[in-house]
Symmetry: C2
Subunit: 457 residues, 2 copies
């Protein structure tokens, strides 16, 4: 991975820190000049990353026509925070101008009081539609689609169609694929703008449209929809109900996000975590520990099977067999905790959510997560061993080892991928196998050190 | 994951098997009728999956205008096989009609004799360009870009521009973004077809183009380019040289493939394998073992650190300490081998490369891979232990255990994700943590069974 790439864009020499300084020094007109030169996606990134108070100032400095485009690119959590601060009139402007699918995402995020304000600014018709869209389950076609598409009739000529695109196209999410609908909005065909532009202006739409198209239902799963986009190289895809009535379209930009989201989910499940679509840097240690602990407990208890197996073969010296029989469980718990941390950090680095400068924040967060996890696991094991073997020394040894091991594993899993990236290696090499080899060795050192103190000391 | 989704498309009731039967029974006219109703991407899938002889028959049944679209969607390995069978004239047709980036991919795949034939059918100008493109490194912007774009001049009117699109657009990879170039092909601006269509026809291109655009260099890494597409929600992106001369464009459909390829690479690296972009089902057990063995050996030797650590604490009965000191290495090697298998299978299931019906093929392949890996690791360890401890019984025990453990781990890693998917669970749950917990327990059983036979039997 090469970190030295730069887009060829002359505004890149202004950093977020520079802009934040301008806000703090209240140099608004200078700030405005910089903003004027920036691309909307970059302004949105700025609004995402600065403190909320500054974000509002930046947003208000934007010209009206840019403001809404920037707003639609800001992350939905930040959008929600902004809507709670803006005036009723600014909110009305946002609601009027936002694409329908973006508005639905926003409504799902904001508190009830803001939802009321938003609905107050919509027509009864729109309110009906919003209610209907809110009912679609997450991760289905219904939740991804938008209603801003160009619809044509099959008896139109190409020049009629082009006129319709000219008059209605400005507010559509895409005009590159147009949808030919008949009675009761039944979808009859699809025609690309490329086809329209390349055809004679007196041709009839029916003659150039394709009626052999792919459509999906509102309940279809987003992972399946991403597969359809990939297989057929689509830019957009119609969504129909059971009677083949066109209810919305899905565009490729949302699908790229879906692919990313599903991949992140796979990574998390593969490292034994409850999947979450929140970004690593925005989660608290307590949240992180909560998503991880149940899996660690389940895996740890299944690892105690090893103790039973080793118990069958005891014969010589009981003490040493009992002690060594704990090793597989301790090692695999350490390995699992390390794997969870490294997977989260590797994914965060890939998505650009974590930077090298975050290293101390990550270390501190992982140490706290590790202590939370280690305390839970340590207390559970102390109880289990004390109850079943009545061996208090062993119970204390194992309990303390788990606290040490888990904290150390979380620390390693957090810091090693970041260092790998800094050293221009692919952070993915710091995944389970290497992390668990490192944690195996340190677990043994911790365990035998504590055991020596407890049993011989 | 819901596997019952179906695209709404009435040709779906014909399966690949049905079509293969038609080929075998030589019912070509019936086959032709079915093909006529199918989408190009589906025909391409058929050509990918049937035996090569049948693939050629299907390809030759296609009407000329469909044939090339289908050909461009066929996987490049199969394209290469087909080019070695078609006539010189068919090859000329393919070369003439294929998009430039697809032709480069094909040339990189076919044997030298076919390359010669292809080059014979191109003009000297084209040959120069091909040579230049072949020099771009894999995974860079240069290797992804195509030269089929629409170029405009800034002093054109909108209606001039639309005329140019109409006359040159048919063979362009996209007409939705047009590139405004000046002297010496310097890129001066970008204008979308949406903008052109929505503007008055006497406007000047310069007035509506944006000169604040993103461009990348030919050497930029594909992962970085994918990030740019995601951040700015692009459909295409210009590639320029150091003098800002436009040399090509990259389109979103290629980027979706890049995202998939990079994700697969991450998964493989995270499971300690040498990354490969070949599909699981098309790799031989020997290939698979070769990509995995070096990592297993390296990790296994680092796991022997545990033996040294445990050796420090021996005091009571030497025999049992020596035996148990082998356990961490055995368990982590089993876990690593299982993790490699499950990662490959999980990714194959996600990409649709592996189906439930492949389960016996996968089992048989994984067992063969497991034996290959186990033999290598077992012999290495036998040698290591015999040389350093001169304990032949221990060397045999560890050697045999490794063969058994690795084979069993590869089997579990191969079969469990497929069963999980069949049971409508996410196959990703069968990743490292669960697999290693299962292999840990079975490793101990194998080890102690063999050890009991060797030392007590």
């Amino acid at each position: 991975m090469d970190l030295n790439n730069e887009t060829i864009d002359d505004t890149n020499n202004v950093t977020i820190d520079d802009l934040e300084n301008l806000v703090e020094e209240k140099k608004y007109s200078e700030l405005k000049t910089y903003l004027f030169d920036m691309l909307s996606a970059d302004i949105a990134e700025l609004i995402d990353e600065v403190p909320l108070r500054d974000a509002l100032i930046v947003y208000r400095l934007l010209p009206k026509n840019i403001a809404i485009e920037v707003f639609s690119m800001v992350e939905v959590e930040r959008q929600s925070e902004l809507t709670s601060l803006v005036s009723e009139e600014e909110l009305k402007n946002i609601v009027d101008e936002l694409f329908f699918d973006d508005m639905i995402d926003l409504i799902e995020e904001v508190p009830a009081s803001i939802v009321k304000k938003i609905l107050r600014n919509t027509s009864p018709n729109e309110r009906n539609l919003i209610n209907q869209f809110l009912k679609y389950e997450d991760d289905t076609a219904g939740s991804l689609m938008t209603i801003e598409f160009v619809d044509l009739k099959k008896n139109m000529t190409v020049s009629d169609a082009m006129n319709r695109i000219r008059t209605t196209g400005v507010n559509k999410e895409t005009i590159y694929t147009c949808y030919v609908v008949g009675k009761e909005k039944i979808l009859e065909g699809i025609v690309s703008l490329k086809h329209l532009v390349l055809s004679e202006s007196d041709m009839i739409v029916e003659a150039i449209m394709t009626d052999d198209f792919i459509a999906v239902g509102t309940q279809d799963d987003q992972e399946y929809i991403a597969d359809v986009f990939k297989k057929y190289d689509l830019l957009s895809l119609p969504v129909v109900d059971n009677e083949m009535r066109l209810v919305g379209i899905i565009t490729i930009d949302d699908i790229v996000d879906v692919i990313e989201e599903e991949t992140t989910e796979d990574f998390q499940i593969m490292a034994a975590m409850t999947p979450s679509d929140e970004e690593y840097m925005s989660m608290t240690p307590f949240d992180l520990a909560r998503k991880r602990i149940i899996w660690l407990i389940a895996l740890m208890f299944s690892a105690t099977l090893s103790e039973t197996i080793m118990g069958h073969y005891k014969g010589v010296t009981i003490q040493i067999v009992i002690l060594t029989s704990m090793i597989p469980m301790l090692m695999s718990t350490g390995g699992n905790a390390g794997a969870q941390s490294s997977t989260l950090i590797i994914r965060g680095l890939t998505l650009g959510d974590i930077e090298f400068t975050d290293i101390f924040k990550v270390i501190w967060k992982e140490v706290k997560v590790g202590i939370l996890l280690g305390l839970t696991l340590g207390i559970l094991n102390f109880g289990r061993i004390f109850l079943f073997s009545n061996n208090i020394k062993l119970a204390i040894t194992v309990g303390l080892t788990l606290i040490g091991t888990t904290t150390m594993a979380a620390f390693m899993g957090g810091v090693l991928p970041i260092l790998a990236k800094k050293a221009k290696l692919d952070p993915a090499i710091m995944a389970t196998p290497l992390i668990s080899t490192i944690t195996d060795a340190t677990t043994l050192v911790i365990f035998f050190t504590i055991a020596t103190l407890m049993f011989l000391g």
